[in-house]
Symmetry: C2
Amino acid sequence: MYDDDRIRQRCRWPQWHDRLRSAEQAAALIEDGMTVGMSGFTRAGEAKAVPLALAERAARDPLSITLMTGASLGNDLDRLLTEANVLARRMPFQVDTTLRRAINDGRVMFMDQHLSETVELLRNHQLADLDVAVVEACAITEDGGIVPTTSVGNSASYALLADRVIVELNLAAPAELEGMHDIFVPAMRPTRPPIPVVAPDSRIGTTAIPVDPSRIAAIVVTEGQDSPSTVLPPDADTARIAEHLIGFFADEVEAGRLTPSLLPLQAGIGSMANAVMCGLAEGPFEHLTMYSEVLQDSTFDLLDAGKLDFASGCSITLSEACGERVWPRLAEYRDRLVLRPQELSNHPGIVRRLGVIAVNTALEADIYGNVNSTHVNGSKMMNGIGGSGDFARNAQLSVFVTKSVAKGGDLSSFVPFASHVDHTEHDVDILVSEHGLADLRGLAPRERAEVIIERCADPRYRPALRDYFARACARGGHTPHCLESALSWHVAAQRDGHMRSLIEQVEPRSA
Amino acid sequence: MYDDDRIRQRCRWPQWHDRLRSAEQAAALIEDGMTVGMSGFTRAGEAKAVPLALAERAARDPLSITLMTGASLGNDLDRLLTEANVLARRMPFQVDTTLRRAINDGRVMFMDQHLSETVELLRNHQLADLDVAVVEACAITEDGGIVPTTSVGNSASYALLADRVIVELNLAAPAELEGMHDIFVPAMRPTRPPIPVVAPDSRIGTTAIPVDPSRIAAIVVTEGQDSPSTVLPPDADTARIAEHLIGFFADEVEAGRLTPSLLPLQAGIGSMANAVMCGLAEGPFEHLTMYSEVLQDSTFDLLDAGKLDFASGCSITLSEACGERVWPRLAEYRDRLVLRPQELSNHPGIVRRLGVIAVNTALEADIYGNVNSTHVNGSKMMNGIGGSGDFARNAQLSVFVTKSVAKGGDLSSFVPFASHVDHTEHDVDILVSEHGLADLRGLAPRERAEVIIERCADPRYRPALRDYFARACARGGHTPHCLESALSWHVAAQRDGHMRSLIEQVEPRSA
């Protein structure tokens, strides 16, 4: 099917021909009940052919597996695998509508994990051992080393820990990706030396995953493309959020707490954090760096604007338009980018060491600054905690951004009591909505509530939040609550589809 | 008042005589509105004379300050300072009944912090700059270096960052403490090199806090004693908890996931975690190490039993009986102990590097394994999160222990929905009560709930928990909940003083 010369350009390992398999043949190595680790992080660099073949085979020959990835997959693979009932267990992150429904119905057991932790657990045998790893590569080196494509994710540890390795050699992936990766796997504990990343541009490992090629069970040649990101361009609200945050950074520089190059930046995946990063292109900042997870459109905008000196991440996920601009010119960015395993891009110790500024998106926050990133009405999983906990806990400045309302004002993102907590008030320094910025540093919970309500909440919901807070304070407590009505906003949302009754209840009284 | 020769034995810095002050004179350096950092961690090594003089002065001459310490103070100092209305703001931890009441009444603004973070925030000017530091010392070196006593806590950074330093030279503190401390202050970010602690017995710093003696504004000579710990000896329930956990460790060794020396151990402060550690003296484990926060009675029991090779902490807090045994023989332990700044004893990066086994106490846990360590009924602060988050998030194995009920069975420690979340389900691997152990590793929330209810909850409360869980699952969700009744257990506890109505509601139905 593929021209041998084309394969030889990407596969320098001489024995490749013996291992060449079709996707169907390779998928046959995966048996019912197995645990499988696949490449792929936020729609970037996932194995494409083997999971598809697996879904097709399952239609005839049912099987179910535990699937671990880096994060979300593109090309509708999570949907196809879910529809084919292949997924018994899934970790550590996903964004697919069909899979999400199966998770919320209890049909797929989902382990929502801090993204830096999955391979630590695997290495310590605290998760089921991997039978098979399936990793996308843009090249295979002379000695069988696997050169990943647009994401590293957990691929290195999966390939090193699995009994058998399937490599998807993607001839359509830019060859210029080779050299951009920095593969390093920490030593076993308790005798692990310090991981020597000391700056975003530190290179501490190899450019390929050093697998023993005798463990490569199959090489599948593909030409698939990554799915483009679905990031939306900034709108009026996200632009306002960016403006508030950039004003805050400027004030911090003025106060001497930050320099004009700020600190290594992390931005969560998605339109909101991307918009904030875009805003930095206009700000008075220079020689910025990123120590982040996913490198999105904003990374390349800032590189092109000459604002950003260097970016470290574990995947590159671009919109179609940005991809058209970046992929043909990838070589121009090579000295300013590195892709690391997610265990290192998100490593608590490195994030703490570098003093990262973390910008992540909240689904909702309570008046004391506890943040829900994952569960609608405390029950329904959206995507997963992702890397937000790795960064928010250890950052020098932990920022969460959210629009003050959802569904055209039907739901307030600021509530008396978070229906699920992913990030406790200890880990939330700054909250920003389109209305303003709440600087929560050094404040006690009662002080935090006032700032959050008055700066961030939608003005229509403020009277009801003030009313709850006043009633709670009258009862006392370090973090005052009225437990019998603490979740009433969410109960209303479930019952009525909106929280507007909260506005009406209080308005007459405060009028 | 004190014999010069006695002072000279402890104070080798030649210029000491010029700085000698009474506690009252030294306290006069602290003015209304100032921010003050004091030594002291879990009743160990707190400055004793100056805060007492400050409280006495405030009775005549009102003033209020922001007080930061390492953690809790002994000798009733937090009570006396609260009663004298000295405390406007207090961080990062406390255990005093009177102060707790003032916090819950909203009279003292309390910042409950991860104990590793306070000095990072201070160093970055994200908290108000320190005007005065007050640090207890057992000696002052030739060049003015401050040798702490029974805790390091935050003393090093406080002494280095404050405008003026008051040293309380405690002639009654064991002179043999000198040499036990390892003082190291991390460099500023973002250019911080790795902190080179690679094992519990790593020594990376100096034995004294290297202050420029021109910054020592006063030396106050004292002879006060630390308050003994209030740790209770193991009872039947805590002994059962220890037994379950030790059985689990033995199984992990059998399965090859741990060696007989386990991994560096951390135990939270208090009777429960202390009991678990005591239990290890009887287990089949050898050459244990600790990388913990407070070294309690159990540390010395294990050292004496020949089970523990080395212990690293940031303070030593002993019961009266244990202290009588240990303090006179302190020199015998010197090669097996190190006291570090709490920023290092609790450092997320080091805890992750060493792969610590963390054992902390839960106030309550929900059926999905979210843990409340701090707030009674979601509102009233008990003590603070302390170091539990530093350890639980980054440990190789994160264990939380709790008795299944409180108040003689009136309150269930396992509830449908935690009334406050300090540790999310992501950070809780193992839950243990006297009834059993829930191994939550690799489980999805619905699976976690079954194990927690059936293994850990009090059998009398299990029907009501099963009933809630079944009703919630019928509604769906990754983490199923019935929000309108999620907090009803706590509402009952507030209304009735107990949760027994939950037992009665379900019993007829399940009978």
